[in-house]
Structure formats: structure tokens, C-alpha cells
Amino acid sequence: MVILSQLFTGVSIGAVLLLIALGLSLTFGQMNVINMAHGEFIMAGAYTVYVLQQSITDAGLSLLVALPVAFGVTGVLGVILEFLLIRRLYTRPLDTLLVTWGVSLVLQQAARDVFGAPNVQTRAPDLLTGNVHIVGDLVLATNRLFILGLALAAVVVLSGVLRFSSLGRRIRAVVQNRDLAAVSGIPTGRVDRLTFFIGSGVAGVAGVALTLLGPIGPTMGTNIIIDAFLVVVVGGIGHLKGSVIVAFVLGVLQSMIEYSTTVSVAKVGVFIAIVAFLQWRPQGLFTLRTRSLA
């Protein structure tokens, strides 16, 4: 029974990892942009819930409204960042890293100035603070089920867009060979901006989900950004599929080790597993074969 509830905890940790990494797997995975401000986009999504709850008193409704609003808000933040800074740095990944890190500090301080240094609280609908009783001691927390559902829905929608829509085809074309895509008449600049919009928007959705689990404060982004990068790197750059598998494997691994040891040991264990894995497959779980010369 304990094994089952730990398995569920692991899967739900995986769902959280997946949600926070999903947007990154687009911007980092597809576009190769190291966006250190991704965590702060997640924070912006979380604060969106807080702001909306100032005017919408119903907790459930405000959460539902927050999902699209947060997507839009952080998406626009992402586009602004892309347009003002990242666009000029596509050939200089290290500079991008430093610049976006600076942006993340600015956003953190902005949140502190606007909302105050202490954490803020949001209300969760009663439905999402309870649990579903399965059998015996096994109960599944509804907020975790909700996040699991949200993560899976986000994956389905995102991979659908990438595979079937014309935007998705253009994104893939630019990823596989930017120059060829450009000479074929694809406006690569606009495609980049749209990719960044979607990737950042998904971060906002992740932020909304995180309000159900943890604190909402100026520094919440820094705690999750490393995990997000881990998932994308191990999953293999340029593949959603890799991120999905790796998120769940890491989540279950973490919770299983933690149960019989401690949090710190589990973290170390997961890191050792990752290092060993990357020795064996430095390119990650899946590799993208491209005709690009770069």
C-alpha cells in the first residue's frame, strides 16, 4: 500500500517536473536558447492567480480563468524578452545565459517591489485540497491528480500543435535547418517569436499549477529552474517525448529513494543516476537527427 502511494507521489512529482520543463523543452530544446528566466515566468504565472483572486472571489473559477490568462501574460513576457534581447544573441549562447539570468534577477526584484517580499497566499477550491479514497490507506490527493491531468493535457496539445498544425511544421522546419527554412520562405524570426510565446506561456500554466502545492514568492523560480533543465537535458534536446519519459522516471526515482532514506540522499542518488546516464548517452535519451550543419 505504501509502495502504491509512493508510486503515486513519484508520478505526481514527475507531473510537476514535466510541467515546469515542458515550456523549456520548446525554448531550450527546439530553439537552443538557455533561458534562465524560465523560473521567473513560472513565478509570474503563479502571481497571476494571486492577482485574479483579488477580483474573482470564487477559488475554482479564478483558477480556471488563471490558466489562459497566465498563458497569455507569460507568453507576452517571453515575446518581449525574445524581441528585446534574445533575438540579438542567437549565435552567442553563453551571453544569452548571462543576460537571461540578469533578467531573472530583475523579475524577482520586480515581484518583490510589487507584491512584497513575504509569500502571498492563494485560495484553492475545496475540491482541490481534498483527496480521493481508493482502497485501504491509499488516498490520491486531488490537487496532484489535477496537476497530472494538466501536465498530460499540455503534452497532448503541444505535441499535437507541433505535429499537425502548420505552425508546428514551420517550427520543426526551422529547428531542423534554419537556413533552408528561410530560403523556402518561412519567416524564421516570426516563427522564433511564436515558439517563444508558446514555451513561455506553458511556464505560466505551470506556475498556476504550482500555487496548489507550494509557496508563491519572489524566489520560487530559482528553486525549480535546475530541475527543469535536468529534465530537458537528460530527455534529449529537441524531443518532447524524452522530457515526458525522463520527468516521470526522475519523479518515481526520487520518491522511492527518499522513502527509505532522506530527501538529501534521494537528491544525491538522482544526480548520480543522471551523471551516469549522461556518461553513457551524452546526447540524452533521444537524439535529433538533422541535416543542419551547425
Binding site: 481534498g130 496532484r144 524566489t219 520560487m220 532522506t262 530527501v263 534521494a266
Partner: protein, 414 residues
């Protein structure tokens, strides 16, 4: 390009030289006076005191409220005529949540501002950082926060609770409620580990059972597994020494797992009124806390304190235990100075024993031997309005015992 770089290098070098020169000056003043001890400047019609709190960084949330409370006490004392006929002039310094900065600012307050006493510090790490500074300069610090005990500096007065005024009474309360199996959850640093060592010694001697013990790294926000472990242990109660953000994630997870204050109460030692607000009352409803003071504590002295605080800082600002301890510290210092008839540190220390004050928490008495104060221990319950109401108290003030010498089970802990 090379010329430009050269000029920049020269500028860097100049700054470096200036910095070294400044540092050298600083250390020289330090050496000159360290042997004789600092002398407070009381020549004018004011006397300076130092306020040393983190006004920026992670600890600012908590420490700014302490600074506000100190200023309130100073304002009240000045309005009533000051201390020995002199008005108190506060000098506020920002410790910036950084322990070396605390030490540096303490040195500055003592050496440059020549303050008669310093009030402040929150974390044990910052207190440990400034302790040698106050001892070297023979200057006074009033420390207003509950801590892990096992300390007694001759130049620090501790107005917050030591372990036998907070943790031990909380365990007594659990025992009296028949909750004899407990699970320990804490952040992974010195306070929770020391506190849990004491709890385990208490449990072993009092027929209680510690079913498990888990530490989360500071700032950790993933508590799924820990809550599963707590739940599987079927303990009667949880003793929580988590700090900061982790509390938010822990209590959200706790509620989702179907655990409640009724089925498995959590006793927390670092959640005061201010923290309740940021965790969310819906997650804390009915849970227990251990302190010496709550905003709701009955008594005329507290009514006056709460009213004055809200009038000065806003009606929505709650008062909490460390704020009260800070407020009390200023009044105790005033009483000591007046009894001594002097601002001289040694005379003030000699006058300290037996000083009493009708504090918002009730009557407190300074114990000259340990330089702690006697405090009434209180267990409170978080209400749905976010305030904490008392469910139990120790009846009379508990004499401070920082080394737990009066408790046979605690031998070998220090």
C-alpha cells in the same frame, strides 16, 4: 582598444588600493579600543542605542516587524521622559540577512556610534556571528527571539524563549493530551537538529516514542514523500521545526493527504501570526503552535501594546512573539539603567537581576545568573481568522534554564 583597457585597469587598481587603505583604517580603530572596551557616548541630552535587524534579504519579512516594534517602545519611552532624563536616539543598521554583515555592523554601532546597547538579530547564525564582537567590546546585545538554548554570553540578554520555556512545555502539553507517539519534521540546519536532540532525550525519559525524524533542505518545497512517511507512521502528533517557505508546501501536502488537526495535530515552533498569513489559514486551521505570547493574549498591557502598534503601523498588522520580546527588551534595558543609575555596561549588568516588567505576555523577571528572562509558556491554536488563541499555559512564568540543568534527562546534551 588597448589604451582603453589600460585605463580601465588603472581605474580598477585605484579602487583596489583605496579599498585596502580604507580596510586598514577600519582595523586600526578596532585594535585601538578593543582592549579597553567601548564606552557609550552619553555626553549630550540623548543616549544612542543600536537597532541591528535584517532590513533586506530573506529574513527581512520577519526582522522588519521586530525593528518596528523596537521603534515603538523607544517612542513610548521618549514620550514618557526618556531614560535617566535622556531621550533615546535609535541608530538603525541593516544586517542584510548576511551573518558577516551583522558582525561588521555591530562593530560599527559600538565603535563609531558609541551606542549604549544594541537590540536585534533573529537567526541563531547571526547571533553567533555578533557574539564575539559584543564580548570583545564589552558591549550589550538584547536578543529577542526564541532559540535552541545551550548558550549564555555575559554580554547578551536573551528576551526570547530558551528551550525549557517553549519546546519542553510543548512536549509536556502533548504528553498531558495523551499524544505519546510523535513524528519529527524539520529543516536541515542547526536549530531543528538541536531541538530534535532535546525532544528525543525528553521522549526517552517520559515514555514517549519518536516514530520518525525527517529533515528537508532549507527552502525545499516537495513534501509528498515526507507526508506519506508521517501518515504511514500513524503517530499521534507531529512536531514541526520547519522554517520559512517549506512550511507552506508541508501544510498544503498535509491537508491533501487527508491529515487534519483532529486526526494528527502538528505543533509548530516557528509559525507566528505573520507566518499564518503567508501559509494560508485554510491549511492551518486548528493546528497548534508553541510560543510565549499571542496577539490574543489577555491583559491590559497587551491591549495597550496591540493598540499602539496598530495605531502606528496599520490595523491589518498582527503582533507576534518575537515582536513582543523586542518591545519588552527595550523596557527591561531602561529599568536596568535606571536601577543602576548609569549607562555603564558593567553597572547595568549588575543591576539586571530581579528586574521585572509588566509585559504584554504577563510579568517577566530578569534572571541575573543566565541573563535570560522568565516567561509564561503558551500553546495556541490557529483559528480560521488567522489569529492564534491560547489553549494551554504554564500557569506561572517558567524560570529560564538554557542548559537544561534542572532536567535529569538532559544530562549529556550540552
Amino acid at each position: 582598444m588597448t589604451r582603453f583597457r589600460g585605463r580601465r585597469l588603472a581605474a580598477c587598481a585605484a579602487i583596489l588600493v583605496a579599498a585596502v587603505a580604507l580596510a586598514a583604517c577600519g582595523s586600526k580603530t578596532g585594535q585601538n579600543t578593543s582592549s579597553g572596551g567601548a564606552v557609550a557616548d552619553t555626553s549630550g541630552d540623548t543616549v544612542k542605542v543600536g537597532l541591528l535587524n535584517s532590513l533586506s534579504g530573506t529574513m527581512a519579512i520577519s526582522e522588519v516587524t521586530v525593528r518596528d516594534s523596537l521603534l515603538l517602545a523607544i517612542e513610548e519611552i521618549n514620550a514618557a521622559g526618556g531614560v535617566l532624563g535622556k531621550k533615546i536616539a535609535p541608530v538603525s543598521e541593516d544586517g542584510a540577512s548576511d551573518w558577516p554583515t551583522f558582525a561588521e555592523k555591530a562593530e560599527k554601532l559600538i565603535q563609531q556610534d558609541k551606542v549604549a546597547a544594541v537590540f536585534g538579530c533573529w537567526t541563531s547564525a547571526s547571533r553567533k556571528a555578533v557574539k564575539p564582537v559584543f564580548e570583545k567590546n564589552k558591549s550589550l546585545l538584547f536578543y529577542p527571539v526564541q532559540y535552541e538554548g545551550l548558550e549564555q554570553s555575559p554580554y547578551i540578554f536573551y528576551t526570547g524563549a530558551t528551550t525549557n520555556q517553549q519546546i519542553v512545555p510543548a512536549l509536556d502539553y502533548l504528553k498531558s493530551q495523551g499524544k505519546t507517539t510523535i513524528y519529527l519534521v524539520g529543516s536541515d540546519y542547526v536549530f531543528p537538529r538541536t531541538a530534535n536532540k532535546i525532544i528525543k532525550a525528553y521522549a526517552a525519559a517520559n515514555g514517549m516514542k519518536v516514530l520518525g525524524e525527517d529533515y528537508a533542505p532549507l527552502g525545499s518545497t516537495e513534501f509528498g514523500t515526507i507526508v506519506n512517511k508521517v501518515k504511514a507512521s500513524k503517530a499521534a502528533a507531529v512536531f514541526n521545526t520547519l522554517n520559512g517557505d517549506s512550511n507552506v508546501a508541508f501544510f498544503k501536502e498535509y491537508k491533501s493527504a487527508g491529515l487534519t488537526a483532529a486526526s494528527m495535530p502538528v505543533v509548530s515552533v516557528s509559525i507566528a501570526e505573520e507566518e499564518v498569513k503567508s501559509i494560508g489559514t485554510q491549511y492551518l486551521d486548528g493546528q497548534l503552535t508553541a510560543w510565549n505570547y499571542y496577539q490574543t493574549t489577555a491583559g491590559a498591557a497587551n491591549d495597550k501594546f496591540v493598540k499602539a502598534y496598530k495605531a502606528k503601523y496599520g490595523a491589518d498588522k498582527p503582533t507576534s512573539d518575537p515582536m513582543e520580546a523586542a518591545y519588552v527588551a527595550v523596557y527591561l534595558w531602561k529599568a536596568m539603567v535606571e536601577k543602576a543609575g548609569s549607562f555603564d555596561v558593567e553597572k547595568v549588568k549588575a543591576a539586571a537581576d530581579g528586574i521585572t516588567f509588566d509585559a504584554p505576555e504577563g510579568k517577566v523577571t530578569v534572571d541575573g545568573a543566565t541573563q535570560h528572562i522568565s516567561k509564561t509558556a503558551r500553546i495556541g491554536k490557529v483559528g480560521s481568522d488567522g489569529l492564534i488563541t491560547e489553549v494551554w499555559n504554564s500557569g506561572s512564568p517558567v524560570k529560564p534554564d538554557p542548559y537544561l540543568k534542572g532536567y535529569p534527562w538532559a544530562t549529556g546534551l550540552s
